[in-house]
Symmetry: D2
Subunit: 260 residues, 4 copies
């Protein structure tokens, strides 16, 4: 169907990445991941069983089949580069894949990413051999810096995390896509299947959806809806979409049909 | 998956209606209709074989399997109620279904529908026993008049025909959906799968897509993309979507993860 | 500064029309009208002193200096053509100007205008010699019908009355402006000075503002703000504005400035 | 009228900053600045007479009355922090004010600012005693870093320079305004008076306009239009604007007016 997605030399059949937060239960999460037919699943390190301790979420990893999914640890909750780097190293030490979704958001209200600390952490982690996918504001120049620093992809936001606002950064994301040589994954803000389709139509290589799926009244069915929307949007991108125009263009020939 | 669509007492499994204009060939059209899994296909009366004459499109009906699709004749090209009513009667006389997509657009530039003539024609045709689906501007009060006149559905535009602008009448369409007691079909302007998904998420009962499919470099694959998008959008509507909000909502718990 | 506005052969120096509803007091209304430097003031017939009765608003006309303002009676509250026509005749009988802002909105939730009844009433009132300015949905074909019926202007809505949403019907309003031979006045939805400026930049001949001014904490100052915005937007339209484009265009020369 | 604007302890009566690029002549520029009633005028260092050489623009400073305007040198054209810092020091050495509009945009297509190099240069220049106003992407976290580094204001873009797209970063700019403790000046993208008014209504402390004024067919009149729009938008912000809502809110009382 869709062309394969390649990140850091690894191929994926699905362009829909998912998260593991906010599901009502681990069983529900597992079934939603299956329905999404996702191949990349991100998990907050805080929730992963790194410690063997009493964390309620300690056993989340038991629910994510690592033969089926690439587990993508994320540094959600890190306030600066130092914390993010520490988390990434903990993950590696615990045997998780050496891939890291870099999230550094010091602001608790909007959870917007920090461009300075993110670049700093990316440079360190790339040097240590991590495959780094940074979550960023839709900033084309920052995206270039991260690409030049060796990141495997860039993950600009469509809108603040959990806002469900869609791709409000549409023009900026389009510039990133136009200029990037690494895959562009739209992350955050995607609250409806139409948003996911729109991101793909713009030419994004993938999207990451979590909240809209996890808190839905029927996460499994919603996961499938996002899967369909991502495929539809990507299909349209690969086929090619026409430009919008103000003038109408008749579908039917309008020549004097009543003269016959 | 999706709930069935009911129009005038008849049930349909698909919520994607299609047109027959602008395809490069009739073979291509037939295959695209199949890929769309549509169940309602509209055809301009001008192009249908009513006369048995030499029209290049004369044999379009041979390509639309009437056991599989409801053939929905349309009055595209009609400049006023009189012309539209005449066309509808011709269609009936020629043995076409007594369903009519009422299109009256006197303006050649934007092909916008005429509210006055449309209501006039609708009243006449309903009385004559037609199942009438009028194409209209996104005007909630007009939609009510047509509903009260006995129309089986209303078909507000998302944007001018062939403009590919999407649902620029979003707020007005939402009001129509909120107030209508007949099905609401968004017609015109839908240029990408994300637009179709968005219309369904708003609560439209169906969408009609023609240009974006017919002129695509690969109409068959584009037809399938629209099919997926419509299903995804409808799924999301049936499940229920959250409101957009400006404040972020963390996907992952942010409690002092580094304190452990 | 701005070109004069001509409606029905009468010239106006101001392109900002105002209403008289919702002000906290009649004194405040009078001072806001003065600050707006408006020349056309609409008043709901219901609130005008037609009866000499005990209506709290009965004396509103004492606060609108008829040497300074053209008083434009409106039929707000009319549910159909008959009611609107009756109101217009009452106004004339009471000695008000034979100008009428035709408003027919049967729906109490969104107060959207009725295209069918509006055209019907317009035809009657034009024949009776009224100067008719109908409030309509942003429907270009309806606008043409009303123009052909002899209306002196058309007043498409930017968004529902009192919604403060701005010009959400932007594309449709642009088509009306492009095609109209009578003045186009954007009415309803204008909740901020930027909305008024935008309407003027699109080429509207005037705007009507009421709610945003009347319910402001400081109506007099807000009236002045709208006055400035209307002048600014009209200036820009008369001068000519550039198209939006995605690519940047450097303000400063970027040639190798450090090489010198 | 409007409240005074204070930047770095200095008060300004105008909230409209202007640039000096792209005017057809220096005379025209001088007259447009006067019509804008601006008090802060930015000039690209490349065009200022620093060298005493043969630069066609060498005498631009003779046209900007320094008793009337604060001359704000900018580093437009700088590709990195080093170049920007060098330009700022040259300006100081040449006797220009120790205020600097920091612009670092390595990309020639969209002229988007570089967050990393901008922060680096800002830290250096603040330490050297400059009053620094950085041009940035609409990135709230970056804005905070620059504020903490001692910048006197932040200047987020509404859209790429010269694009005339308006405030497409509306949500992000709103967050910056909500969180900033220094003035927020919207810079770039403002192509029409309505855009300037919108920025002010959002709560921006000032806007900077150059291209839209300089390339207008009548720059002097356009300058005045922007002046009016900025005042109108600021007035509205200070008075307070209502929220947009979908439901209508009647301007006129709708109680049974025909029953009397």
């Amino acid at each position: 169907m869709n062309e394969k997605l390649t990140i850091a030399g690894r191929q994926f059949g699905s362009r829909l990445m998912t998260g593991t937060g906010k599901f009502a239960s681990n069983d529900l999460m597992r079934d939603a991941l299956a329905a999404a037919e996702t191949e990349i699943v991100t998990v907050a390190l805080r929730r992963a069983d790194l410690s063997g301790g009493q964390d309620a979420y300690a056993n989340i990893l038991e629910y994510v089949d690592r033969d089926r999914y690439l587990l993508l640890p994320n540094t959600s909750g890190a306030m600066n580069a130092e914390e993010a780097v520490r988390l990434a190293r903990l993950a590696e030490a615990a045997g998780l894949p050496k891939w890291i979704k870099l999230e550094i958001h010091p602001d608790p209200t909007y959870l917007l990413p920090d461009p300075i600390e993110t670049l700093k952490a990316a440079e360190i982690l790339v040097k240590e051999g991590f495959t780094v996918l940074p979550y960023i504001n839709a900033d084309p120049v920052l995206a270039k810096h991260l690409q030049e620093a060796g990141c495997a992809a860039v993950m600009p936001l469509g809108a603040p995390i959990g806002s469900n606002k869609g791709i409000i950064t549409r023009d900026q994301v389009s510039i990133i896509i136009e200029q990037a040589t690494v895959p562009v994954v739209v992350d955050a803000g995607i609250g409806a299947p139409s948003h996911a389709a729109e991101a793909m139509e713009l030419g994004a290589d993938a999207v990451l959806v979590n909240t809209a799926m996890a808190i839905a009244s029927d996460p499994i069915r919603m996961a499938r809806a996002f899967k369909l929307a991502v495929e539809a949007g990507r299909d349209a991108y690969e086929i090619g979409l026409p430009q919008a125009q103000l003038k109408a263009s008749a579908t039917s020939p309008l020549t004097a049909f009543l003269s016959e």
